[in-house]
Amino acid sequence: MSHISPVIWQFLVKWLTNSALFPPEASRLAPQMDALLFFLILVSLIGLTIVVLLVVSFSILYSKKRHPVAVQVEGSTLLEATWTIIPLGLFLVMFVWGALIYFRVFTPPANAMNIYVVGKQWMWKAEHPGGQHEINSLHVPMGKAVQLTLISQDVFHSFSIPAFRVKREAIPGRYTTVWFEATVPGTYHLFCTQYCGTNHSQMIGDVVVMTPEDYRKWLAESTSGMSLAQNGERLFASLSCAACHNARPDARGPSLANVYGSKLTLSNGGAVTADDAYLREAILNPSQHVTQGYAPIMPTYQGQISEEGVIALLEYIKNLNSDYRVQQTLTTTDLLPESEGKAAPAAQKSAGQGPATQGKVKP
C-alpha cells in the first residue's frame, strides 16, 4: 500500500500545476474565441446557479415537514414569459456573436499565403508553394495570415489546431479553406478530429510557429529544389497536357494562360468561374466541363493523378496567370529566402539545392 499514496500525491500535484482550462492562445483569433467562450460559461454558470438555488430553497421551504399542505398554483403568464424571453434574448446574442467569429474564421483575407494540405489515411501532407513538403507537421510564420486549402484523398478527416481555435474538415473531392494568423512562436498540437479508421489517433502532428527569420531559414533548408508550380509544370509535360493546351492557334484544347479566376462559358451553355474546385473537376472529369468551342476529347485523369499531383497542376495553372504571380510575390516576398527574393516560382529555376527534408517530425 505504501507506494500508492506517493502516486496519488504526484498525481494531484501534477494536476494542480497543469490545471489549464484552455489551450494556449496562439493565434489572433484565439482571444476572440475565448471571450465568447467565457461569456457562454458565465451565462451557463448563472443559469445553473439560479436553477440549483431555486430547487434547493424550494426543497427546504416547502418540504413536507415545513409545508404539509401544498397550495395549488396554476402557472403564471408573467413568469413564463420571463423565462422564455430572457433565455431567447441571451441565445440570440450568442448566435450573433458566434456567427461573427464563424465568418471571420472561414473568410480568408485576400493577402493570405496559401498552403495546401492533403489528408489521407493516416497522415497530413502539407505542400508549400515553394516546394517544401511536410508530413504530420506544419511550419508557419508568425504574424502572417496563412490560408490552408484542404482536401482529402480518401475519407473525411479534420484538421484541428486547438491552440489557434481553428478546425476544418478535409473532404474527399472538395477543397475547403480555413485561415489563421499565428501570434506566439512555439510548437502546438495538430490533430485529426474526424474519425477516419484504424490509425485515426495517430494522425497527429505538430504545428510549428516560427519568427519570420526562422521561417525564412526553414524554407531555405527544406526546399526540395523545385517549387510546387515547377512540379506541376513537369507533371503537365509528362501527362502530355501540352499536346493540346499549348496556346497555338490550332490547339485542340483551350489555352490555360490567365484561365485561373476567369469566367468561362461551357459547351453546355453554363457559365463558371475557373476556381480551384472547377479546375480540379475539369482535370479529373473533363467530359462534364468542356469549354465552349472545343471538342470533348480530353481523357479523364480520375485515378491517375494523386491529390498532390492535382494541387501541383493547379499551382502551375495559377502561375500562368500574371495577376496571381504578382499577388504571390507581394504576399510572400518578405518570407522567401534571400536567394529566391522576388521569385514567381514557376518562372525561375530555384537556387536552393538542399536535400529534401520531408516530414520533419518534432520530438
Binding site: 484552455f22 457562454l40 426543497s59 402557472g75 423565462w83 479534420s158 474519425y195 489517433s201
Partner: protein, 560 residues
Amino acid sequence: MSSSATIVRLPDQSTARIPKLNYLSKENGILSWLLTGDHKRIAILYLISITFFFFIGGALAGLIRLELLTPQSDLMATDTYNKVFTMHGIIMIFFFLVPSVPATLGNFFIPMMLGAKDLALPKVNLLSWYLYMGAGILALYTMMTGGVDTGWTFTTPLSTHYVNTNVLTTGLAVFIAGFSSIFTGLNFIVTIHKMRAPGMTWFRMPLFVWAHYAASILMVLGTPVLAIAIVLVALERTIGIGVFDPTKGGDPLLFQHLFWFYSHPAVYIMILPGMGVISEVISTFSRKRVFGYTAVAFSSVAIAVFGFFVWAHHMFIMGISNYSTLVFSLLTMLVAVPSAIKIFNWTFTLYKGSITFETPMLYAFGFMGLFTIGGMTGVFLGTSGTDIHLTETYFIVAHFHFVMVGGMLMAFLAGIHFWWPKMTGRMYPEKISQLAAVVTFIGFNLTFFPQFILGTLGMPRRYASYPPEFQILNVFSTAGASILGVGYLLPVLYLTWSLKYGEIAGNNPWQATGLEWQTQSPPLTENFTEMPIMDHEAYDYEWLENQQALQKEAEVTSAG
C-alpha cells in the same frame, strides 16, 4: 387527510396481499409471454431486454474507459478500440436509449393513463418487440464475428469504401431496429388519438403522454430517413451506385445530411419521453399540478417540430455554406428555448408544494441539474463560432453524455422506481435506492465533467491514444466510471430482491393522481374493472383527496 400523513401509504402489512388476479398471474408459461398481446407484458419483455443491452453497452464503455486510463493504446489494438466504441454507440443508442422509456414505461402506462385496455394495435406492439430482439441479436452476432469500426455514425466514404468489417450486417440490424421504433411510435399515435377514455380531453392527458406523442411523431417521420440512408450505404458498398462517391459524381456530405436528418431528431426521441417521466415525478412528490401545464405540453411539441430543422448543426465545419450555418445556428438557438421553459416550469412546480424526497424525486433532481448543464453546453455547440473549436472533441462527448446519460438515464431510473410498485405490486427498498441515486450522481459527474475540460483543451474524440498531458483528467473520468458502474449495478440487485421480499405496495403508494394509480397493483390484464371516466384535470390532488374521503365513507357505511 393525506396531508398530515407521509406520502407512502402502504396498506396494513398484516392484511396486505398482492391481488390474486393480475396481469402477471393470469397465464403462466413461457409461451404466454412470448405470444402475449398485453401491453404490460410486452413492456416487461422490453424492460428485461433493454436492461440486458444496457449492460453490454456499459461493459463496452468500461473497456473504453480502461483503455483511456493511459495515454498509449496498450489495453487493446487501435482497431479493437475502434470496434468497441462503435458497438458501444450502436448498442446504447439503438438498443437502449431509443426504446428505453417509450418501449417500457410508455408501453406499460400510456394505455393506463388514458384509461384504455391496451394499445390500439397489440399485435403490432408484439411484432415491434420481436423486430427489436431480432435486430439486437443480429447486432450482437456481428459483434462476436468481427464487429464493425465505422463509428455509430457510419460516415461515408469510410463505411462504403474503406473498412472491411461487418458494415452490412450491422446496418441491417439498425435498419430492423428502426422499424421496431416506427411501429412503437405509430401504435402510440393511434392509441393517443383513438383510445382515450370518456372525458380524457387532450389537455387532461398527463404530460408523460404529451411527451410520448411528440416523440412518436419524430419516430414515425424521422426513422424512415435513417432506413434510406442505410440502404444507400449498403448499395454503395455492394454495387457502387455512387450516390456518395465523389469520383462518380456523388456527394459524401449527402450521407451526413440524411443521417443527421434522423439522428438529430433521434436525440429528442430519446430525451422527450424522459422529460415526460420528470413531469410526473416532480408533480407527484411535490403534490402539485405541474406549473404551466399547457406550456410544458406545447414545449414538447415545439421541440419535436424545431428538432427536424436543426440537423446541419452537426456539419458547421464540414463545408456547408456559411449562410446555411447561419440559418441552422439560429434554429438551434430556438430549439433550446422550450428546453429552458421546461426546466423552469419544473422548478416552479416545487414552489408552495409539499415536497418529499423518495428515490424517484432524487433522480429527478439529478436530471434537472445534469440536463441544465447538458442543454447549456449544447448552446456552446449551436453557437457557430465556438462550435469550430469544440466540435469533434471530448466536449461534444461530455455534452451528449450529460443529456443522454445524465438526462435520459436518470429519467429512466426515476421512472422505473416511480412505477415499480405499480408494475410489480411491491416496493423497492427506499434507503439503499436513495444511496444508489446519490452514487450515480457523483459517479456521473466525476466521469463526464472532466471531459468538458479535455474537450476545451482540444482532445479529439474517438482516440485510442492521446498526448500524455491529457492523462490526469482521463484518470478522473475512468475513476468516476467505476463509481457510476456501481450506481447502475445496485438497482438491478435490489430491484430483483424486491420482487420477492419488497413490501406490498397497494394501489397508490405515492398518492399520485394518474389513472394508472387508481387501479390495483399489479393491474389486471384489462387494466380497469370498469371504463374510467375522466372528470377532472390532470394532477388534480384535491380530486384525489375527495375521492379517497368518499371511499373511506363508503367502507365505513358498508362495514357498519
